[in-house]
Amino acid sequence: MIKDIFVMGLEAMKSYKIRTFLTLIGVIIGVASVIMVTTAGGSVSSFIADQWNVFNPTGMVIGTGTGGATPQLSIRSVVFTTNDVEKIQNLPSVKTVAPLGVVPLNKILKRDGFLKWESRPGEIMYASTPALLEILNLNLEEGTMFEEGKNEVVISKNVAEVFGKDKPLHVGDTIYLRRVDSKTLEAKVVGILKESSTANMFNALSTPGIICPTKPYYSSYFGSNVGTILKRVVGYTVLLAEATDTKHVQDAQDQILKYLDSGGSDANQYKDQNSDFVVITQQYILVRIEQVLSVIRTYITAIALISLLIGAIGIANIMFATVTERTREIGTMMAIGAKRRDILQLFLYQSTIIGLLGGLFGCMIGASGSWFVVDLLNKNIQNLGGALSTGTIQLTYAPEWFLIASVVGILIGVAAGVLPARKAAKMDPVVALRYE
C-alpha cells in the first residue's frame, strides 16, 4: 500500500509538471552549490596546502619583528652573526641552520671572446651555505653545490636564461656579478636548480635566482656589517633552520628563542630594543593558511546552506499551496477510506521525492559545476600570482558530501513537507469536502 501511495504521489507530481520542476530547481541549486563549494573549495585549499606541504615540514625562519601569539617577521635589520649561526647549529633539536644574506645586484655580465652580454638590473642574489638546499628542499638539476669561500654560484633556470633562451648559461660558465655598490665579482656557475613548483618560506621572501656562498660575495658587502665602527662583523637579517624531525619543531623553536633572548647571543646585542626575535615555522604557516582557508570555506558553505534553506522553503511553500488547492480531493480520499496516515504519507512522499531528486540532480550538477570552476581556475592560475603561480588544482571530490547532499535533500524534503502534510492529514473530512 505504501508503494501505491508513493506512486500516487509521483502521478500527482507528474500532473503538476511545471510546479514540480520549479520547486526542484530550488533544491537543485541549493544542493549543487553545496557540492560546488565543498568540492571546488576543498580542491583549492588542498592545492594550496599541498603547495606548502612539499616544502620541508621541519623548516623555520628566524628573524626579528613582533612576537606573541601571531608572530610577524618585519625583517631587514642585520642582527645575526656567524657566531649565532654556530651556536644555533649546536642546539639539540636543530638539525641544520643556514644564514641568509641579501646581495642586491646591478647586473649580470658574460664575456665570450669579444662578445659581451649584460642582464637588466634587479636580480637579487642570496648568500648562504650549502645547507640551504636541504632546508628549502631544493634540488640541483645539474652540477654541484658551491663550496664556501670559492667564487662559485648556483643559479635558477630563469637566471640561466637571463641573456635569452637561445643563449642559456651552462654549468662551468663564468659570469660577472656587479653588486649595487658597483663592485664586480667573478663567479663560476657550478649548479643549476631544478624548477620547484612549490611555495615555501623562501618563495614567500622572493624567488631564489642566484645562490652564492657568503664568502666572498656577502662578507665584503658593506650592507652586511653590524656592530660599532671599532668592531664591525658580518651579520644577517634572517636565518633558516630545520628541526631534527617533525616532532621536535616546537622544541627547536623554543631552544632557538631561548638562546637568542639570552645575553649570550650576539643578535640580542645588535637587535633594536623595540623588536622581538621571531621564529616562524612551516607548521605555523600551514596552520595559519588552514585557518584562513577554513574561514573562507565556512563563509561560502554558509551561503550554500542558505540557498539550501531557500530550496526547503520553496518546497514547503509549494506543498502548502498544493494541500490547500487539493483540499476537496483530500476530503474525498478520506470519504472513500483514506486514513490520516495515508494522507500524511501522500504529501510527505511528494516533498521527499522532490528533495531526493533535487539532491541527486544537485549532486550531478554540482559535480560538473565544480569541474568547470576548477578548470577555470586552472586556466587562470597564472594570473593568481605569488605562491600560486605554478602547478594545477587537482579536482578532488569529497564523497561524503555527495552522501550528505542526498541525505540533506531527502531530509529537507521531509522537513519541508511535514507541516503541509500534517495540515492535510488533520483536515476534517466534512469541512474538506465542502471546500470550493
Binding site: 500500500m1 480531493e329 474525498t332 480520499m333 472513500i336 477510506g337 469536502l433
Partner: protein
C-alpha cells in the same frame, strides 16, 4: 446484530459556530433495513447532508447512538472510522469528486488502495466495475475528458469498489440534466436490486418514485409518512 443496517437513536449534532451553538440534527431516531432505498428530502439547511455525513462515518454524533452495520461509530478511533468508511460505505457526491490527476480506472481502484491488496487485483476489479457502468473504453481517460454523466458513473463504480453494503448519494443528479440523471438513477436502482442499501438525498420530487421509503427533514428533525 440488529435487523437494521443503520440504527440511529436520539442522534443530536450540534455545530459550534463561534459562541453560538447550532443544532443541525435534533434527537433523530431512524432505522433502516438492509436493502432499503431511502429518499431523504427537505429544504436547504434542514440537515440532510449532516445526517449523511454521520451515517457515512465522516462525522461523529454530539450525542445519541449511531450503529452502522453493527459498528457503534461513537466509540471507535479515527482510524477505525476510516476503515469502516472504506469497507461499508460507498459515497456518491453531487460534484462527482473524482481525483483529477488519476485515470478513470485508477479513480475506481482508489478505495481499494487504502485497504491493501495487489495492484493487479485492484485493476482487474476496477475494470470489471468500469464495464458495469458501461465505460470500458474510458479506462485511461482523466475526469476532465469525461462528461458529467460519465464522471458520475465512474464515481458510482468507485463507490462500489470495496463492495460496501451502504451507498450514500447526496444529490447525485444535482449537477446533471434530467435525462442523464435518470440514467444515474437507473444504475442506483439496479444496485438496490442487487441488495445494496441506498440513501439518496434529493430535491427532485420526481426521484421519489425510485425509493421505497421517503424521509422528510425539517430543521434537523425527521418525519416519515408511510
Amino acid at each position: 446484530m440488529s435487523e437494521y443496517v443503520i440504527d440511529i437513536d436520539s442522534l443530536t449534532k450540534i455545530y459550534q459556530t463561534g459562541k453560538t451553538d447550532f443544532k443541525a440534527l435534533n434527537t433523530v431516531t431512524l432505522k433502516i433495513r438492509k436493502g432499503d432505498f431511502v429518499a431523504i428530502m427537505g429544504p436547504s439547511g434542514s440537515g440532510k447532508s449532516t445526517l449523511m455525513n454521520i451515517i457515512g462515518c465522516l462525522d461523529r454524533p454530539t450525542s445519541g447512538t449511531v450503529i452502522i452495520d453493527g459498528e457503534n461509530i461513537s466509540i471507535v478511533s479515527d482510524n477505525e472510522l476510516a476503515e469502516i468508511r472504506g469497507r461499508k460505505i460507498g459515497f456518491i457526491f453531487q460534484k462527482f469528486n473524482l481525483i483529477p490527476t488519476m485515470t478513470a480506472l485508477k479513480n475506481i481502484a482508489l478505495p481499494m488502495v487504502f485497504l491493501g491488496g495487489t495492484t493487479a487485483d485492484r485493476d482487474r476489479r476496477a475494470a470489471e466495475l468500469l464495464g458495469k457502468v458501461g465505460l470500458t473504453n474510458w479506462a485511461t481517460h482523466r475526469p476532465s475528458e469525461l462528461s458529467g454523466g460519465q464522471q458520475q458513473r465512474i464515481a458510482i463504480a468507485r463507490a462500489l469498489s470495496n463492495n460496501p453494503s451502504i451507498i450514500l448519494a447526496d444529490e447525485p443528479t444535482g449537477n446533471l440534466d434530467t435525462k442523464t440523471g435518470e440514467q444515474i438513477m437507473g444504475l442506483l436502482v439496479a444496485l438496490n436490486k442487487e441488495g445494496k442499501t441506498i440513501l439518496l438525498v434529493t430535491h427532485a420530487i420526481a426521484l421519489k418514485r425510485f425509493a421505497n421509503r421517503v424521509i422528510n427533514m425539517l430543521d434537523g428533525e425527521v418525519s416519515e409518512k408511510s
